[in-house]
Symmetry: C2
Subunit: 258 residues, 2 copies
């Protein structure tokens, strides 16, 4: 199993604290030593950093930790390989362009007997995750050749996620830079931080941050992760079938499929 | 005008020396201060590093220089903005998936009255370069829905490049990871290094490398750049309309369109 990390914020925010916690699970406090990746939206642009080595030993991860990249939407992932060998091409998150936007996707889980129809978007690597992402985009493109609002897309997204979930474990994060969507099949947690901010203590490293010093009173920052990253805050643990949609840090829709 | 950098090699090779030379032109010895990017193929995977700031001042560029990434195919670019504001989204190289392969493209030049038909691949940013790349992929996809060899693709590639060149200046590098294609409209230089290797002296920085110490006798490494990067070697200066196709460092096809 892999670990997911997502962020949606109303101001460009650095994810240094959460990223530091997650990176420990990549070979130190967790077994996810088969690569890691993180994507930062910067306007309509997307920065993607990946490495098919343990995140706790990755030179690129060190650079990302020291270089404080600020973003409104982030998707990160650390990998414990099951389908597909350890290689850059199999490292999440995956990116494709749809409607003139960069879409970004990361998956935690495993799908059985998943052989989607060959269509426009095709996996470059060997993972069931990238195959599911391509299938999802092929469905969206087929239903909506032109851009629609996330709200109109939601029923289609949920249909697709339900199909994948029926084939195994499908926890995922998806974004086009405007919004961040999550789907929980077995495991996902979330926290929304807003004023009054307080201190937070990482579970996986000796690091505490006082968000009061790092934020303004209007900041709203939501973080999603496979498991809570801090041990002194109340995280919302998502149920199986629960999905959420975030824009600028705020939840704009949420629900649960059967 | 921007500057291009390309590499094709028969063994995974680090491009540290050439990259160091190019980066100086990004704000120090050259005026290309509006961003830079470099893409390294690693098997079928692709690492893309970009920054919309002067390369000589970029933290990400420093990391790329110190972290010796070895690759068989590299495409790099430093930007002097003309069309499209300075932003990550407008920073070359651009990447799209076609036929289950990551395609990568960088352009030097400017196109006038270029308004390609809206089709599958769409630009995310505002540059004529990304619009040309998307148009090129739309043409290829329309002519060849399934993968073909580079040799079969060539006439179509050359048709497209000739069209773009008629609309302005169109020097470009294109790769799908298997081969590297170049098209010269006004300015492109190339060198192929093989045994016996000798020392090379950068034009843009006080740096000399003795390739004898860094290579084996079987290595073949071709570097393409807008202008020669070294001043003690003989570079092949491409003519207007000249194109080349490289695989594993060797030229597998070349010619010139009228």
């Amino acid at each position: 199993m892999c670990e997911l990390l997502g962020m949606s914020a109303n101001v460009p925010t650095d994810i240094h604290f959460s990223f530091t916690g997650l990176m420990q699970r990549g070979g130190r406090t967790g077994p996810h030593k088969d690569g890691w990746g993180i994507a930062f939206y910067e306007g309509r642009g997307l920065r993607l950093f990946q490495d098919p080595v343990a995140s706790c030993e990755s030179e690129v991860a060190k650079m990302v930790q020291h270089y404080l990249i600020k973003s409104n939407v982030v998707i990160g992932h650390i990998r414990h390989a099951n389908v597909g060998k350890v290689a850059l091409v199999n490292t999440h998150p995956f990116v494709r362009e749809l409607w003139g936007q960069h879409w970004c996707f990361a998956h935690n889980g495993q799908l059985a007997d998943f052989e989607p129809a060959r269509s426009f978007y095709r996996p470059v690597g060997d993972t069931d995750s990238e195959a599911a992402f391509c299938d999802l985009l092929n469905r969206i493109r087929s239903d909506f050749p032109e851009r629609v609002a996330a709200e109109d897309l939601l029923p289609h997204l949920l249909d697709a996620c339900s199909t994948y979930r029926a084939k195994g474990v499908f926890n995922c994060l998806l974004s086009n830079g405007e919004w961040l969507f999550s789907f929980c099949s077995t495991k996902l947690a979330q926290i929304t931080r807003r004023a009054p901010f307080g201190p937070a203590q990482l579970k996986d490293a000796e690091l505490t941050v006082d968000f009061t010093a790092e934020t303004t009173p209007n900041d709203v920052v939501t973080v999603l992760a496979t498991e809570p990253l801090t041990d002194n805050e109340q995280w919302d643990i998502h149920q199986s079938g629960e999905w959420t949609l975030w824009r600028l840090g705020e939840c704009v829709a949420r629900g649960q499929v059967a």
